[in-house]
């Protein structure tokens, strides 16, 4: 970077000039906004380099990452040069589309490949990877002052998110318990809330629903109002991913759980209670009445694309999906609004289930210490802040970033109501599933059962009883 650019960036870091001045100054120098962000962070990185930690310890080492194609990855790659400059390390990476990403991770790890040192993952996946011996407990690194730089500030990571990534490996064991192992570290996370099309809502005089019954009503009304569109987008493919967003968030709000953990540690199915049946009936009816016609193939991107193109009036899914769909390139850009949502009128607060994109260290890595340098940098406050301010690293997993005015303003300016929504639902946000090794089997079967219910192939009560029976059988067979 030229000297002038550097001066501008340093002035900004030191608080001498504001963001507006910075961007003005940078633009005058012919630098785009995104590049400006990287430059600013270069300055921040320089500050980091002076915190007394031996950043150059692994100078010359090269590590390789396995990454999912995602804006978080884009943010990581955009900032990578700064990490290389900071440590003198080289970072290679493979990026795979999300459709095949996790299969790729499983293929690499199950074969014991040492090709990748670290990889992106969700917390659910570590329930497989951890016990299988494919990823390491990162507590050993986090709490080792020799290996972790003093500014890392682990406690800064949102507690619910942080603990959701830790599990003691015992089927049914509580997440974040004292004996839990930190299988992964959050990059950013998604809460499941309502994203609705304000234009459609306003035009048809619709109010933002505040519980499941209102949601059904509003969805039906909105669906009737949109020509060739439908009321509400939720996922429906035959996959665990159908269960975990809106569906589980609403389900949990009624005090329901997926599994009961007995006193003896034995797991049993818990989804065939009366309350659960009631919730399922409503959910199924909502999809039948006002869901997408091809709901049963919908994954997050159909749900998102439809709300972004105005095909659907709202969605109960990841908040960041609403964030992206409100951005340029979408027909409804700027029309989307956000609202925290509690399905149960009697509940005190929303209980969003969360998805956490995080980083894990491969147990097969041959250079774990060097890899940890990358992990602490990429999950550290500087990169988080950079990603949140300059790229699309929403929702950042650190409370310090949420406290950052610049980030809050950026969000509020472009995405009104987003920050408020986050603040309302964040306290109740965590993973609501019971951690256990059959997670994917049970949720996939759950999704398949939902599909059958929506297609009227099986009544809700009967379907849930059958599901519970099947789940119990599988748990039993697996010795859980």
């Amino acid at each position: 970077m030229s000297k002038k650019e550097k001066q501008l960036a340093e002035a900004f870091i030191a608080g001498k000039i504001g963001r507006r001045e910075l961007i003005k100054g940078m633009t005058a120098l012919g630098v785009t906004t995104a590049t400006a962000g990287v430059l600013v962070n270069a300055a921040a990185t320089e500050a980091l380099a002076q915190n007394g930690f031996d950043w150059k310890k692994h100078n010359g080492t090269s590590i390789k990452l396995l990454l999912n194609k995602h804006p978080y990855t884009d943010a990581m790659i955009a900032n990578l040069e700064n990490f290389k400059a900071l440590t003198g390390m080289d970072v290679q990476y493979d990026v795979f589309p999300e459709d095949v990403y996790f299969d790729k991770v499983t293929a690499a790890l199950s074969s014991g490949s040492s090709e990748y040192d670290a990889f992106m993952t969700g917390a659910y996946m570590t329930w497989t990877y951890g016990p299988a011996g494919w990823c390491d407990d990162l507590n050993e690194f986090i709490h080792d002052a020799d290996k972790t730089n003093p500014d890392y500030n682990w406690e800064d990571v949102l507690e619910g998110v942080r603990k959701s990534c830790a599990w003691n490996g015992r089927p049914g064991g509580a997440l974040g318990s004292d004996d839990a192992k930190q299988w992964c570290i959050p990059l950013a996370y998604e809460q499941n809330n309502l994203t609705y099309n304000k234009r459609i809502f306003d035009a048809n005089g619709l109010a933002v629903p505040t519980n499941i019954d209102e949601l059904m009503g509003t969805a039906a009304a909105a669906g009737a109002a949109i020509d060739g569109g439908y009321g509400i987008g939720v996922r429906g493919s035959r996959s665990w991913a159908t269960i975990h967003p809106g569906f589980l968030s609403g389900y949990t709000n009624f005090g329901q759980v997926d599994l009961n953990v007995g006193a003896d540690g034995k797991l049993t199915a818990a989804m065939n209670t009366d309350v659960s049946k009631d919730f399922h009936s409503k959910w199924v009816k909502m999809i039948q009445d006002s869901g997408a016609p091809d709901w049963s193939t919908h994954t997050w991107y159909q749900v998102g694309t439809d709300v972004g193109s105005g095909k659907s009036a709202m969605m109960f899914d990841a908040d960041i999906l609403g964030y992206f769909m409100n951005g340029p390139g979408n027909a409804e850009a700027g029309n989307l609004a956000f609202s925290a949502f509690k399905a149960n009128p009697d509940a005190a607060a929303p209980t969003p289930n969360i998805w956490i994109w995080s980083m894990s260290m491969s147990s097969f890595s041959k250079q774990k210490d060097a890899t940890w340098y990358f992990l602490q940098w990429v999950t550290g406050p500087e990169h988080d802040l950079f990603g949140a301010r300059e790229m699309d690293l929403v929702n950042p997993a650190r409370s310090s970033v949420w406290a950052d005015e610049m980030f809050r303003n950026k969000l509020s300016n472009s995405y009104p109501g987003y920050v408020e929504m986050h603040d309302v639902s964040a306290p109740g946000a965590s993973i609501k599933f019971t951690a256990q090794p059959l997670f994917f089997d049970l949720t996939t079967e759950w999704a398949a059962t939902l599909q059958k219910m929506v297609a009227n192939e099986v009544p809700v009560d009967e379907g849930l009883d059958m599901l519970a029976e099947s789940v119990n059988k599988q748990l039993n067979e697996a010795g859980l």
């Binding site: 074969s111 694309t305 390139g329």
Partner: protein, 285 residues
Amino acid sequence: MESVNPIERALRGIAITLVILFFMFPIFWIILMSFQTNETILRMPPSMVFTPTLENYMALITGKLETSAGILEIAFMKNLFNSFFLSTASVAIGLVLGVPAAYAFARLKFKGSEDIAFTLLSFRFAPPLLVLLPLTIYFQQLGLANTYGGLIWVYQLIVLPLILWIVRGYFEDIPADVEYAYRIAGHSWGATFRKIALPLAGPGIAAAALLAFIFAWNNFVFALVLASADKQPVTVGALAFVTASGIQYGQIAAGIVLSIAPTFALALYAQRYLVEGLSLGAVKG
């Protein structure tokens, strides 16, 4: 086969039109789509009237995909190259291994030849995943994981049985006497193979190679499981257009068009081998 009956002619015409419509329309539509932006693609009702844009192709070729979240790097051209390299190399090796073996099975009846031939063919019948899943582990141990060499080896699973089966039929159809005549004239086995068997089975070999190339090109799951990103073919690469910031329908379409183009060009170039060459008795005349 001479149809003079006007009703029959009309019926044939209608049938052939329907066939062309069914098989060609999706391609036609995807080509149209590849010249549109997301905006015009998502219009309802769909319309054939739009201002064509080369944006999608430009993005693929330059590898820069502009999205709301900024510029994304995509490696589509690299994928295309991988497809090309993997398919070509696999077919070449498949021919080197398969053609002599096919000749042995066809001409030099030997003890257990039918069994060995059947065994080889039956590899085609092993479910790919059955082999693929454990193979990841062995490839890791052998250092073949994520190498072109390893992939080309696994591709033999598709290529080799196909070549063996088709080419063998061709060799069998060459009258043995023609080869005997050449041997008796004083030429060695090798010369006979080169100068008589190979040229006469040429159309069959070309057809088999072409088919094998298509099947290799179209493969999806082998590379997906066994290779890292920089070795992925287009079939996997085309999925990369699904990003968190939306599906780039136009680019998917352009990607599909670009991935069909090479195989199709090859088929056009070698069409006489495909249609005429696949007839198992072609060399009898």
